[in-house]
């Protein structure tokens, strides 16, 4: 066991994790997930947000079992290796806001960094603008870090705080399986609070058990190897350290090969699945998301895995993402396959302004 641990925390850990994601994500697409959406933290939390009725975009509502699996995979990894340490106190309110705006930004592109790399590996060239935007956003975040930006220190917290997220995830799993219909519409027919799409991306999904198991495996590997799709770029620029980036390169290469084998590689800009061709919003949306992720210390996957280690501040970020997706779809900010929506530009500008204010104002208090 200790040999496996050492291997996963070595330079090879992120590469193994990236390769496994690269293989399994396209397989989930083959088994029913939307195109190039085998793994996407923002799309999946957006679907969960819709399933809970926080937005009513009827095509993107589903409790994605992948998220539940990823979380429990990370929890198991943390518990098994003595890394489950409930902690909080590092500006949770700011982390909630960063989660919201990360989601709002990523929904302008229609995908988180995980999906940006997967879209690239599926031949969706719109992802190139998104990845460039991501790099710019991360670069701005690094500028703030060099100026002394910090959300301050977390502190050990009572054990019970660490078990709040597991309880939420168990509740989500029960809601997925039971899908209760407590509400009544105007004609008295049962409806909500759990909404599942009958058409569109929300209705496309791999079998629950497969999605759960894939999530568990990836969550475990990612927790052990500290896999992070934003840290990968950040650490190369800031620390000249490429060990996380190697994981991303492995993800792209293996996803490309798997897509080729499964007949899912379709190069081009137009007619890509759950995607639009507006380069400005693909770039800008991901620049906002990249900035928010960097200010929060990691990509959405990493935030989910940290929350599995008992980090209640990272959990606030994840919950912020679910709420942000609700706002984004309710207020016509999220883009659609037709391009940006009525308030996409406003959401982008407001998000950038708020994240920049956070970058300039948050400093560690010297006692």
């Amino acid at each position: 066991m200790s040999a496996i641990t050492r291997f996963l925390t070595s330079r090879w850990g992120p590469v193994i994790t990236g390769a496994v994601v690269g293989i399994l994500a396209p397989v989930l697409v083959k088994l029913g997930n939307p195109g190039n959406m085998g793994m996407c933290m923002v799309c999946f939390t957006r679907d969960i947000s819709g399933a809970l009725g926080l937005h009513r975009a009827s095509v993107v509502q589903y409790i994605r079992p992948e998220i539940i699996g990823l979380f429990f995979g990370a929890l198991v990894g943390a518990l098994a290796f003595g890394e489950f340490k409930p902690r909080t106190g590092s500006a949770p309110l700011v982390r909630f806001l960063l989660g919201m705006f990360a989601s709002i930004g990523a929904l302008l592109f229609l995908g988180c960094p995980w999906r940006a790399y997967l879209r690239l590996a599926g031949g969706d060239w719109n992802a190139i603008f998104a990845i460039l935007g991501l790099i710019v956003g991360i670069g701005i975040g690094i500028g703030f870090l060099k100026m002394g930006y910090s959300l301050g220190r977390n502190h050990p917290a009572p054990k019970a705080i660490g078990w709040v997220m597991p309880a939420i995830m168990v509740a989500l799993l029960l809601l997925l399986i039971l899908a209760p219909q407590f509400g009544r519409d105007a004609s008295g027919n049962p409806t909500g609070p759990i909404f599942f799409s009958e058409k569109g991306p929300g209705s496309q999904h791999a079998p629950i058990i497969v999605a759960l198991v894939v999530g568990l495996a990836i969550g475990f590997l990612a927790q052990r190897s500290r896999f992070c799709t934003v840290g990968a770029i950040r650490d190369v620029i800031l620390l000249r350290d490429s060990h996380l980036l190697n994981g991303i390169l492995a993800l792209i290469v293996f996803a490309f090969i798997t897509n080729l084998i499964l007949g899912q590689f379709h190069p081009g800009f137009a007619n890509q699945p759950v995607a639009h061709t507006n380069a400005l919003f693909n770039f800008g949306g991901m620049a906002l998301a990249g900035l928010a992720f960097t200010l929060a210390g990691g990509c959405p996957g990493r935030q989910l895995f940290l929350s599995g280690e008992g980090d209640a501040d990272a959990a606030m970020f994840v919950i912020g993402m679910i709420v942000g997706a609700g706002f984004s779809h309710t207020y016509s900010a999220a883009a659609t396959p037709n391009g940006p929506s009525a308030f996409s530009a406003l959401a982008l500008i407001v998000g950038l302004i708020i994240c920049i204010i956070i970058g300039f104002t948050m400093r560690e208090r010297k006692v």
Binding site: K85, R87, S90, R153, D235, L239
Partner: protein
Amino acid sequence: MTETLDARGLSCPQPAMLARQALQKLGKGTLEVLVDSPTARENVSRLARDAGWKVDIQQQPDGSVKLVLSK
């Protein structure tokens, strides 16, 4: 005198970034870095070793870890 950097409770990439800055400023000698997450411990150890520093890992009674970096 040995310099100490307290990086406990800080988010990524601050422990590694602050340790890197401190090591570059120090040039050679000894730097003690306090960390309390496995990620920070691995990241600081990796960058120190890559820059030619010897890393000694000391468990602390409160569950945190003291990394003694020397060159």
